[in-house]
């Protein structure tokens, strides 16, 4: 076993994090009701991971970047965003 070849200074090229799938961190995800949305783009501004995009007059969530923090839902002035749990199964003790 030999040590991996690495840059001398521990560093990464821009875009390295964008290549990583973050979806496994998430417990919940935003679901957008486009009937309520007025395209004000507040959610785009607040999203810390740039996981929201506007595409043809619609707000879309890029789920490989979304960590489910819920800031978009909290900041949406028209309450168009609902956080929905990723896991819908049993919780707590499971009876055999």
């Amino acid at each position: 076993m030999a040590a991996k070849e690495l840059p001398v200074v521990p560093s990464a090229r821009p875009g390295t994090m964008a290549a990583a799938d973050m979806s496994r961190l998430r417990e919940q995800r935003p679901v957008i009701d486009m009937g309520k949305c007025n395209l004000c783009r507040e959610c785009l501004l607040y999203c810390p991971d740039a996981a929201l995009r506007e595409d043809k007059n619609e707000i879309k969530v890029y789920l490989q970047f979304c960590k489910g923090c819920g800031i978009c839902a909290l900041e949406c002035p028209t309450q168009a965003i609902t956080m929905v749990g990723e896991y819908a199964g049993n919780r707590g003790f499971i009876d055999k």
């Binding site: 040590a3 521990p10 560093s11 990464a12």
Partner: protein, 386 residues
């Protein structure tokens, strides 16, 4: 040109000769006069350097690290509490492989509060990944700081360097120091620029690194530190060719031929031990001296070879690793284990500025001889001079 300089002035002149571009430092006793001297050079126009005022030693280290990452040649000074305070950033600096050079004017750590010399402050940072050089006199302080830049900046190394000399004993005591010509130093020490913070080549530096890569980075860092040990010998020779002074790499011997009892130490005590060895030799004793110039990386293989003929090894430590003993005592035992079964007598002495003279070293020598004659196995470590 020969000048009468104390250790701090010698360090400042070394920084001037090395054409240091950034000095980020916070004043601390007894290192502050280095900073004052460099700012005097800047003020009178004999040195082109940016002095960065900082609010702490932690910030000083961070500023020097940032300046080096931008491609500048950076220098700073500290000791004791300041060194402990910047400890976190020391690890950043070595891990990011930035060749900052720092003069450490060794002083005891509180509590109780002390201003006096010992090596406890730097030994506490032995795992920081820095190269650690120790000087026995002010000429060596000047020469080692210049060599430290060439060593740290070498493509095979790329690591930060601490150049150690003791408070007051060296920092405030004047000795004749030969000042090499600027042109000679310029030829010996060409400026190396490796900016990491480059607007044309943006990088995410020091990103969170997972278990799959962290260990590999550390392997490369340790390998680079080990290479520095060999390289210091070559650099010392090259410097000798320029100035006529070769300090002999990582470890040097004094009167080791046929020596039976060998004193091993570092820093100012080396000069004292040299005189003690001469006195013992004059009295017909087979005494010798091993000078550890490089404590990190520890030159274990060279030490093994040089101590091979000895009947007893005496480690003189101006530090205490609480609950374990002296740092040199521990290193020597580790280096010699399985190679020879020579006993290592480990002495803790001179802490917090307690004076150690020639007569103390001859007394220790006698104690060791008595121990040898009695066939007693030496204690793990013992305190001398209480």
């Amino acid at each position: 040109m020969r000048l009468l300089l104390n250790g701090n002035e010698a360090a400042a002149h070394a920084a001037r000769l090395a054409r240091v571009e950034v000095l980020a430092s916070y004043p601390i006793t007894p290192a502050a006069p280095v900073m004052e001297k460099i700012t005097q050079f800047i003020a009178e126009g004999t040195m082109r350097c940016n002095f960065v005022r900082v609010e702490s030693d932690h910030s000083a280290m961070a500023a020097a690290l940032g300046a080096t990452m931008a491609g500048a040649r950076s220098f700073l000074i500290t000791n004791s509490q300041g060194l402990a305070y910047m400890s976190e950033v020391l690890y950043h600096t070595s891990g990011l492989r930035q060749p900052v050079v720092m003069a450490v004017v060794n002083r005891a750590l509180a509590a109780p509060h002390s201003r006096f010399p010992e090596h406890g402050d730097v030994v506490a940072q032995e795992t920081s990944g820095w190269i650690q050089i120790f000087c026995e006199n002010n000429q060596e302080v000047l020469d080692s700081i210049i060599q430290a830049f060439r060593l740290g900046e070498d493509e095979q190394v790329r690591l930060p360097v601490m150049v150690n000399y003791e408070g007051y004993i060296q920092s405030h005591t004047r000795e004749t120091v030969d000042m090499p010509e600027q042109e000679k130093i310029d030829a010996f020490l060409p400026l190396v620029r490796r900016p990491v913070l480059d607007v044309d080549n943006p990088l995410a530096v020091n990103t969170v690194t997972g278990p799959e890569l962290y260990m590999d980075y550390k392997y490369h860092q340790d390998a680079a530190l080990q290479r520095a040990g060999t390289l210091l010998g070559e650099i010392s020779e090259a410097y000798g060719a320029v100035t006529g002074r070769n300090w002999g790499g990582a470890v040097t011997g004094y009167r080791l031929e046929d020596a039976e009892v060998v004193l091993v130490t570092m820093g100012s005590l080396v000069s004292t031990a040299r005189i003690a060895v001469d006195a013992l030799r004059a009295a017909g004793e087979k005494a010798g001296l091993l000078k550890i110039r490089l404590f990190r990386p520890f030159p274990a293989e060279a030490v093994r070879e040089m101590l091979k003929p000895a009947r007893a090894v005496v480690a003189l430590d101006k530090n205490i690793v609480y609950g374990a003993g002296g740092a040199l005592g521990r290193e020597l035992r580790a280096a010699l284990y399985g190679f020879t079964n020579v006993p290592v007598y480990s002495y803790i002495l001179g802490l917090g500025g307690r004076d150690v003279g020639v007569e103390d070293l001859t007394a220790i020598y006698r104690q060791v001889n008595e121990g040898l004659a009695a066939g007693k196995f030496p204690a793990l470590y013992q305190w001398y001079g209480l």
